[in-house]
């Protein structure tokens, strides 16, 4: 057995919370992040989601996720202000406003929005069993095939991460000589030899290293599609008879409790939007 972090299961309150409630709250938070609210208001929502994510999935996982989207956030911060030049000017070149208060607020709004959506999805996926997701989608009257597709698509995200890790290991072994040479060049700041490309910086090198890995992952993922379809049909997907269900969603008092909590959180978010738009 080769354990990976991706199969990790938790027993926390969020992990055990009814997936139907989680789907509703996911929708509520997604809509909230897309509404044109004040930056402070969006920031409070982001803080709430971030705290929940840190508490239930751990600071390490959250930081890793944020590191992944960091390049996009930096691009947003750089590219958004020039398109919003209204309001008091903070920085200009030859009387051409480059950074205004409005531009800065818009950039921050986009950053908060993107980070919030990422974290809420991460919290949802990290604490919800895909099998229970299918059940929840079916409870919302989605056909089994649609629920299955959604679940497989969502399940595929961690699978891609596993493939990525394995492919990275394969590349690491296969191209070890080249990688070591490049690393030494980067670390020593060695000048380039004639006919060889210029050694990149550490960050540039890491980016260059990741391109063939990502390409390989893409190829392997595409290759998996027909075998995935074969595996599904061999397990009876496509049959006309009614499916039964081995796992079940909560019923009775636990369902009512989680339903009330869902309603309470959703109402709080809606009221906060109405009261402080």
């Amino acid at each position: 057995m080769i354990p990976t972090v991706y199969g990790k299961r938790g027993l926390s309150a969020v992990h055990c919370f009814d997936p139907r409630g989680k789907i509703i709250l996911l929708g509520v938070f997604l809509v909230t992040f897309f509404l044109p609210l004040r930056i402070g208001h969006l920031g409070i929502h982001l803080a709430a989601v971030a705290v929940l994510t840190v508490v239930f999935l751990g600071i390490g996982n959250v930081l890793r996720t944020l590191r992944l989207i960091l390049p996009i956030l930096v691009l947003v911060l750089i590219l958004t202000p020039p398109f919003h030049r209204e309001g008091p000017v903070l920085f200009s070149i030859r009387s051409v406003p480059i950074l205004t208060v409005f531009g800065l607020v818009e950039a921050l709004r986009l950053i908060v929005r993107f980070t919030g959506i990422t974290l809420i999805f991460y919290l949802f996926m990290g604490t919800t069993d895909p099998d229970s997701l299918v059940l929840a989608f079916r409870w919302f009257r989605l056909p089994f095939s649609v629920s299955m597709v959604l679940s497989i698509a969502l399940e595929y995200i961690p699978t891609i991460r596993i493939i990525y890790d394995q492919v990275r290991d394969a590349h690491r072994l296969r191209l070890a000589d080249e990688t070591m040479e490049a690393r030494q060049a980067v670390n020593s700041g060695r000048t380039r030899e004639k006919g060889k490309s210029k050694p990149r910086g550490k960050r540039g090198h890491r980016l260059a290293e990741s391109i063939p890995i990502l390409t390989s992952v893409l190829i392997l993922s595409v290759r998996r599609i027909p075998t995935l379809a074969m595996a599904l049909e061999c397990r009876g997907v496509g049959r006309k008879n009614r499916r039964s269900s081995f796992h079940s969603l909560k019923t009775g008092a636990p369902m009512i409790r989680d339903g009330l909590i869902t309603a309470l959180i959703a109402a709080t978010v809606v009221f906060s939007i109405v009261l402080f738009p």
Binding site: I2, V5, D169, L175, T227, R243, F246
Partner: protein
């Protein structure tokens, strides 16, 4: 043995693959005939590339539905014409365990995986629960019930897929190289279970396992698109002679690679590197210690997803000498792949040190150095093969060593011939599992690392093919460690056999 009314009948089955870019159309089956009696267990022996997987997929309805090509003939299971049905409609008639288990597992928990097909059949929850318990118990998987299948080792994944089959209990069981990657106890348990359940079973294999002798009723050979029954009594000397001649049993006494000093195969393997390359060069003489690991201790992180995990790997001392060939045996989940990954620097031990021979003396090795010192063939070849053609796949590592184009072409051609690969522009994804394993080995042959580790490389390969692969990697200045479940192969090909049990070397 009295042959009853046939349960499975294959009559004049012909199949041709369509033409793909780089791969011409190929007639794989040319009038296959086969009859299996109800509740009988048969073994179909075929060397790699002879169409074992295609035959299984044809019987279950996946071919030509997913592969294209044309199929003719008749296949009947009782009164059901299998070629006229879709795979999902044959769920209770035919069950298949894929050769590559990773391709068949879909869900995030082992119990969900087993229950999935039962849900498709619309079976009630209490009945699913009962069958699930039975299947888990039969394959000794109770403790993995809530685990993610992704966390299981290759052998454990196969056990889980057999458990899925046990739960559905179809009329015909097709086991495509399923006994490969399983430890001896599990193989015996599976064969005993097949005997007890009295289901018609066709086991497809590239090699003869002695365990078959007590459990199988019929043995067939598939060669050149035809199936022939072996008439010699199973286990007789004539039977063994025949299988030895056809390459399904390893002729230990005739092996050229055992006992004698290994010689580099001619032409000389490419040991030279590009000028200026920083590749680790060992250059030791035969018998010199090439790698030494002492007091190694490794444990997966507590948050690794393995609930209640107590697994740890502890190796007091392991020495690999130049010119030596070691075999590593061990039950599924005993830590064989983990040890392999530590020795090539992909996993870092919590304690202990690994030294390698460098510049004539043993020196402490970091992960980076081990990455360059060791070649490691993953259990799953597809994770090491990514490029569109065989040539590109083989040339990649050499290009990174800045070797001249002409020299690359020469070495690639040599590797293609040595590992019996198709033409250079053939897409690897269209090759058989065994051919993909040979390609994976050819990639590392060209990289010429001082230490080679082959993780269950014999799975999907015939015994002679694997022996040939071992022979290619044997070299007086290099060491080879191969992981296997086949005791006979281990004893036949290795100078020393090690065994791991619960993470400890015995």
């Amino acid at each position: 043995m009295i042959l009853q009314e046939p349960d499975l009948t294959i009559e004049n089955l012909c199949f041709s693959y369509p033409e793909y870019p780089g791969l011409p159309a190929r007639r794989l089956f040319d009038g296959l005939d086969l009859e299996l009696a109800e509740a009988s267990i048969a073994v179909l022996l075929a060397r790699p590339d002879q169409g074992k997987t295609t035959l299984c997929r044809t019987l279950v309805g996946l071919v030509p539905r997913f592969s294209g090509g044309s199929v003719e003939g008749r296949v009947r299971l009782g009164s059901v014409e299998l070629l006229e049905h879709q795979p999902f409609d044959l769920l209770e008639q035919v069950g298949l365990v894929f050769q590559h288990p990773g391709e068949q597992l879909l869900l995030s928990r082992c119990d969900s995986e087993i229950a999935f097909a039962l849900e498709s059949l619309g079976i009630s929850r209490p009945e699913i629960e009962a069958r699930l318990e039975d299947a888990l118990r039969a394959m000794s998987l109770e403790r993995y019930r809530k685990e993610s299948p992704k966390n299981l080792s290759g052998g454990e994944k196969k056990k889980l897929l057999v458990a899925c089959l046990i739960a559905v209990n179809p009329q015909l069981w097709l086991l495509d190289e399923t006994l490969e990657e399983l430890d001896s106890d599990t193989k015996t348990a599976l064969l005993r279970l097949l005997k007890e359940r009295r289901r018609t079973t066709l086991i497809l294999s590239a090699k003869w396992h002695e365990l078959f002798r007590d459990y199988v009723d019929r043995v067939f050979l598939m060669e050149e698109g035809k199936i022939q029954k072996i008439h010699e009594p199973v286990g007789s000397s004539e039977f063994h002679d025949l299988l030895r001649r056809r390459g399904f049993i390893l002729p230990i006494e005739e092996l050229p690679c055992r006992g004698a000093t290994p010689q580099p195969r001619s032409p000389q393997p490419p040991s030279d590197q590009a000028p200026g390359s920083k590749a680790v060069k060992a250059d030791p003489g035969k018998g010199d210690t090439l790698l030494e690991a002492a007091e190694l201790f490794f444990r997966y992180e507590p948050d690794s997803g393995r609930e209640g995990s107590t697994f740890s790997l502890k190796i007091a001392k392991l020495t690999l000498q130049a010119g030596s060939t070691l075999a590593l045996l061990g039950d599924n989940g005993s830590g064989k792949s983990t040890l392999g990954r530590i020795l090539c620097g992909l996993l870092t031990p919590k304690m202990g040190a690994i030294k390698i021979r460098k510049n004539g003396r043993l020196q402490q090795a970091t992960e980076d150095i081990l990455n360059r010192f060791t070649g490691y063939l993953f259990q799953d070849p597809d994770l090491q093969i990514f490029l569109p053609t065989i040539f590109e796949e083989l040339a990649l590592g050499l290009e990174h060593l800045h070797i001249e184009t002409e020299e690359i072409r020469r070495r690639v051609d040599q590797a293609i011939s040595l590992f019996n690969l198709p033409v250079t522009d053939c897409p690897p994804s269209l090759m058989s599992y065994g051919a993909r394993k040979r390609l994976q080995a050819a990639v590392y042959y060209l990289l010429d690392r001082p230490l080679m580790i082959i993780d269950e490389g014999d799975s999907g390969l015939g015994v002679n093919d694997f022996a040939e692969m071992v022979r290619v990697f044997q070299n007086p200045g290099r060491a080879l460690l191969f992981i296997t479940h086949d005791h006979r192969l281990a004893q036949g090909l290795a100078d020393e056999v090690l065994e791991l049990k619960n993470g400890r070397l015995r």
